[in-house]
């Protein structure tokens, strides 16, 4: 386990150790109400203590170098949340964080964290809303508090996790001052955000209700999870490994389970007979909002060198047509994987990219180096020169010029 701070950003992980399995229970969403209004202030000592800890975390988040500075995207996100909850949200703070893992989380103080890894995998506004609505469900139904109170009565499982985390933080040297000296509080935070299966089901149901009421296609909820599972399967297959549903792992990054997907799907069907007409998936709105960030989102994923997952991502996006950016990223997947024959695959993808109008400058660099590797020196030099012309202030101009001078 690395970077214990990272797990502050992960909320809503399923807690298999906490409660008996509730597979098969379906929570009907039509009778759920918000337990939180805009002026909510915690009253009892349990909750107030936790708010204090969350305030410190929020300060760290606000000033974190991982914070994404994207006002338009932030406004767009707030717009989706407000459409979902049906009111303005002056009490919520939304933070977009550069973190490649698929996650969004909600803290009991009204702080919402949305990872770029989540944005990278979502295909339309309805899918975005599905996860945001689920997280909002935890908040509006005060799940954190009730979850915490029930855990408090249990054994010291979480405390052991905390103490072990202290050992882990020390060993890797990645923990922070706060983490190292405050392991038990960390266990508290982690334990607080281990939602029970009941709460996950309730949040799912609440999320779908919100979606239906806001006019989003409710099938988007199970679609998100389906895509995530497909991606993980592609990743495993590529490595010759078996895909395992890891929702049992206490420290997993919020992966879905088949049970939850089924529940979501059932609930959506149920609702669709009741409520929604002219449901939208908000695809165009989503694509417009995410377009300025697409290159960054792809880069964050592809550079992790998980080829099965990367290809799944690139190929899903390419269903709308291959672009220069997508071909470039396809090439990058093969270049990093570097298995037998990948040099050719990469070279082909880079060549294809440079033939398209939106090929980024980096595609020309990659194309150039690929050609040089294949012994096509004049063409390679031409491509590298093209790169320098497009991007004279490139960070690696030094080595590219040097290469050209050889």
């Amino acid at each position: 386990m690395n970077g214990s701070r990272r797990h502050f950003l992960i909320g809503g992980g399923a807690c298999a150790a906490c409660l008996p399995s509730l597979a098969g229970a379906r929570v009907l969403p039509t009778n759920l109400e918000s337990l939180v209004d805009t002026n909510y202030e915690p009253l009892d000592p349990d909750e107030r203590g936790m708010w204090q800890s969350c305030e410190r975390i929020e300060e760290m988040i606000r000033t974190s170098p991982q914070r994404l500075d994207a006002p338009a995207l932030q406004d767009y996100t707030r717009g989706v949340v407000e459409r979902l909850v049906g009111r303005e949200t002056p009490d919520l703070r939304i933070y977009l964080m550069r973190d490649s893992s698929f996650n969004a989380s909600m803290y009991p103080t009204g702080m919402m964290i949305v990872n770029t890894g989540f944005m990278a995998r979502v295909r339309n506004e309805a899918q975005y809303a599905a996860v945001l609505g689920h997280e909002a469900g935890h908040f509006f139904r005060k799940h954190t508090i009730t979850g915490y109170r029930s855990i408090r009565r249990k054994t010291s499982t979480m405390a052991f996790i905390g103490a072990a985390a202290g050992a882990a933080a020390g060993y890797s040297g990645q923990g922070s001052w706060v983490d190292a000296a405050n392991v038990i509080n960390q266990a508290l935070v982690m334990s607080v955000f281990q939602f029970s299966r009941t709460h996950e089901a309730e949040a799912d149901a609440f999320g779908i209700m919100l979606m239906a009421r806001a006019g989003y296609s409710t099938s988007a909820a199970s679609a998100v999870w389906g895509q995530l599972i497909a991606e993980r399967m592609a990743s495993a297959k590529q490595r010759g490994a078996k895909y395992k549903d890891r929702s049992e792992s206490a420290f997993s990054t919020h992966p879905p389970s088949e049970d939850r997907m089924q529940d979501l799907s059932d609930t959506a069907d149920h609702l669709s007979t009741v409520v929604v007409t002219n449901a939208t998936d908000g695809r165009d709105e989503w694509l417009a909002a995410i377009q300025p960030h697409r290159a960054m989102l792809l880069e964050e994923q592809i550079k992790l060198n998980d080829p099965g997952a990367s290809l799944y991502l690139v190929e899903s996006l390419a269903q709308d047509g291959w672009t220069g950016v997508l071909r470039y990223n396809e090439g990058e997947v093969y270049r990093l994987r570097n298995a037998d024959g990948d040099d050719v695959k990469a070279a082909d993808a880079f060549a294809a990219s440079t033939a398209l109008p939106d090929a980024p400058a980096e595609a020309w660099r990659a194309h150039g180096f690929a050609l040089l590797k294949a012994g096509k020196t004049p063409e390679g030099r031409e491509a590298l020169n093209r790169y320098l012309t497009m991007k004279p202030d490139a960070r690696d101009a030094g080595i590219v010029r040097y290469t050209l001078n050889q």
Partner: protein, 248 residues
């Protein structure tokens, strides 16, 4: 210049009967602040919790606020006796109050503070090049902050106190393991733990660092807060005083 390295776990062993122990570090040629000086307490991290039978530390807001008030009052009083005026910079609670430079300074101190804990207070993690030296710095970020705010010293303070509502035995053993691999985190069994580091904002150097572990005391009371502050900063008054491990 005088440093004393006392393996924390060994201290704890001796402390099981109920005692308080501090070990401090001071930089070469350290003289405690004197004359009329301006001290800023940086985002004091003070929290008091209840230790449940289930082994969880639940922070209590009311206890924490009281402890914070008491400690800061004790600190101000103590510093005033030595000629210093103390102001406190609290963690910002809204975006409008955020200060990026301060946040960066705070994070830098986190890294340095953790390094001090690791290399001066943990068995087997000592750095040979710092054997008889204590020379960590916060550099330009600190000196710039001093120049901008007119403060002479910055004090970083971390304090935790907890009161158990039940016994926790096995957990202590697991917590000790942390000491072995380099991070000596003491699982509170109703334990008081505090660190303080003093930064000279003219040089940017960490000139004083102290660590306190105690199984007695209650920082929710003014007397308890006074006791902790005194234990933490007492030997800063006279750097040549022999290091005392107080057993009470």
């Amino acid at each position: 210049m005088v440093t004393r390295f006392r393996p924390l776990a060994a201290v704890l062993l001796l402390c099981l009967g109920g005692c308080a122990a501090t070990t401090h570090q001071a930089s070469d040629g350290f003289t405690p602040p004197s004359g009329k000086y301006k001290l800023v307490v940086m985002k004091p991290d003070i929290s008091v919790s209840v230790l449940t039978a289930g082994g969880l530390n639940e922070p209590r807001e009311d206890w924490t606020l009281t402890a914070r008030e008491n400690i800061l009052a004790s600190l101000k009083q103590q510093q005033a006796k030595r000629g210093g005026s103390t102001q406190v910079v609290f963690a910002s609670t809204t975006a409008a109050n955020d200060d990026p430079k301060l946040a960066e300074l705070d994070r830098l101190h986190e890294a340095v503070g953790q390094s001090v804990l690791l290399h001066k207070y943990t068995p087997y993690a000592a750095l040979p090049t710092k054997k008889d030296k204590f020379d960590w710095t916060l550099g330009k970020l600190a000196t710039d902050y001093g120049a901008a705010t007119g403060n002479d010293y910055a004090l970083f303070l971390f304090a935790r106190d907890s009161f158990s509502s039940g016994g926790r035995v096995a957990l202590q053993a697991v917590g000790m393991l942390g000491c072995v691999v380099g991070v000596c985190v003491l699982p509170p069994g109703g334990l008081q733990q505090a660190f303080v580091s003093l930064v000279d904002l003219k040089s940017g150097n960490v000139v004083w660092f102290n660590h306190l572990v105690s199984t007695v005391g209650d920082i929710r009371t003014p007397e308890g807060a006074d006791a902790m502050v005194n234990k933490l900063l007492e030997t800063m008054r006279d750097p040549d005083a022999p290091k005392k491990s107080k057993k009470s």
